[in-house]
Symmetry: none
Subunit: 204 residues, 4 copies
DNA sequence: AATGAATGAGCATTCATTCAT
DNA sequence: AATGAATGAATGCTCATTCAT
């Protein structure tokens, strides 16, 4: 008697269309019309499945945060040591080719800009940032501990790694032409390693 | 005797107003009306001094790039050694309190997002990035040379430093609440130092 | 054995839901969706039982006209004299507490506004008005006749009574705060009585 | 150097266009486009002179309230006695031909309906109603006093007169066909007079 | 009978830009 | 130089109605 709902699938399609549209032209220019066109739907239908444009954006932020997390788990599966896991994390987010698509990276940069001015976006953006911070701090602390180093500095180092990554996304999206090729993952890994190696040993 | 043109002053005022407006609400919401209000001018006058909104934005990018350069020269004035100069550079851009205002940082983040999608903005943005890259590569190469290290890796290290800075701006603007306090300048300096220290010596 | 149609019940539910919706937000804002929600039905079903939104409105006008008539019969049941019947009529429509619910009154006001501009609504609205006019003219004529007065002026007096009632509904719905408390039924009755008393006697 | 503002004139034109549009099709159907067309302007210009559609409506309510007041003053100019002033008031609002235009009356009815559901409209509507109440109470009290009657009942009588008027507007707009011709002003005056005449004398 | 997805026209509002003054 | 009115093309969103299931 009743029809089966296809809302979940439609929502996924629409969020994907926003990702594509936002990567190309930013959030403001990613109009409902443009999103609908990319998804092969009509504009009215977008608002049948989402209350507002902002709701789609917030869904996209959550989707990308989730995606980032899952990518790490994939990359980390074969990793045995803390150092390998850290490298898996860095590669999952930065390694050329294996990293996320250019569109995803550009969309994330646009989301970052929206987070500056839209409180509701900032909220979910901060949740994603906090999750990344927690994960990288844990990985860095494990590396430090393994080498008998104090782990107190892990939080700041994690923040630095995250800043590096966000900046790398920004520059890859807007200034790839003037940046050295493929510096990101390798340099990030080296910076972390050398920092950790130079850290003084913990007292017994 | 003809009246002296006040165009240069007006242009400066307008660019400053765009900086303030863009920091608060992003480029799209920084309407001509809002810019005019912040500058204490009327909307029609904006288009007397600038051909288009984009032209103001491009002027702003150049202004900020210039400002960044001048700040380094100020900070570096008392610096004697390469290492002191590098630290001056890092502090000029990142040090809490001494760094640029929150509005300037937020505006720069917004500009970065616009650079992703507007070719004309990207062009001047890339010029600014290239200038920063050249400066930091030079400073890093000097540090390496001073310690008898190979300078071949300076370009990649400079790219990493720049990525870190851009990311730090992004996170300071959109996720200050979840980031550690005051990590940026100190951690950047340490990362650079330890990387350089661990670099192998150059062959004779 | 075929299933029994529940159309009549559904139509009643839907008309009741329109009454509630229209009282709150007016006809335009009483969307099919809102009506469905109030009736606990789905939007599609509304158009299964009614061809259009206007058809529901027209049904509502008829329902309210019917309701008004029945209320008079209820109130007039114990009335013996013409004057008591007139008072029963006035109380049935205006008396505080015993009168119709605030929602019904507000809905009637909204219907009156729709009748100004929608010919099909005006038609049924006028039928309702004509019925009220006829009833009150009859009641007033009986009062006049009982006192040996000419009944020629009954039509105009009936029109005045109806105008008073419609206006009282309007003011009760939109300006209750600035109107005296409970003036309506008592003043209406007094106005009618004093008018009738002052009417000259009919010639033999 | 500076241009002379024509905003006041434009606002008046726009409010007049809303009056015409609302009388024909109600507030919801009086679209910005329709208002602009009636005023011979472009839709964008409407929002240059008014912040929102609601602001135009509120201006219209105030304009009509003002207009009503001025009409009374005009009609009352030659009136000498309290009874003549009361009659002037009734005629100013109700007398056929001399009364307000059908469009104005219909617009007022639509405004009354909007006042039921829009708080901001209700506020100015109530102000207008309160002013009318105060004026008619004063006029009625003067009539009562002149005849040595108690004036205590003036407030309720004023409310009744106002209700009658509002209802007369409603019925004139939506049910003129079924109402007696020209009953309004004459019957209102008679109702008031007979009520006052029948009022008991005040004690010495 | 009933569901809920889908459509498409229409809405108020925004805004860069133009232009007469 | 400066003003502020004017334009017209968007934009996000709403909603009665249709229809496959």
């Amino acid at each position: 008697m009743s029809r089966k709902s296809n809302t979940e699938q439609r929502r996924t399609e629409i969020v994907g269309a926003l990702l594509a549209a936002i990567a190309e032209n930013g959030y403001e220019k990613a109009t409902i019309h443009a999103i609908a066109a990319k998804a092969g739907l009509t504009p009215g239908l977008i608002h049948y499945h989402f209350q507002s444009k902002k709701e789609i954006l917030i869904d996209l932020v959550k989707t990308l945060a989730n995606y980032s997390c899952e990518r790490y788990l994939q990359f980390a599966a074969p990793a045995a040591t803390p150092r390998e896991k850290l490298r898996a994390y860095i590669d999952a987010r930065l390694a050329k080719g294996s990293g996320a698509s250019a569109a995803t990276v550009a969309a994330w940069v646009m989301i970052g800009a929206e987070a500056v001015r839209q409180p509701e976006v900032r909220e979910v953006y901060q949740e994603a940032v906090a999750a990344e911070l927690a994960l990288s701090r844990e990985l860095l602390a494990a590396c430090l501990a393994e080498q008998g180093k104090k782990t107190r500095g892990a939080a700041q180092l994690a923040a630095a790694l995250l800043a590096f990554m966000e900046g790398a996304f920004q520059l890859a999206s807007a200034a790839a032409d003037v940046m050295p090729q493929g510096y990101a993952a390798a340099t990030a890994a080296q910076l972390m390693e050398r920092f950790i190696d130079a850290e003084p040993a913990a007292r017994k």
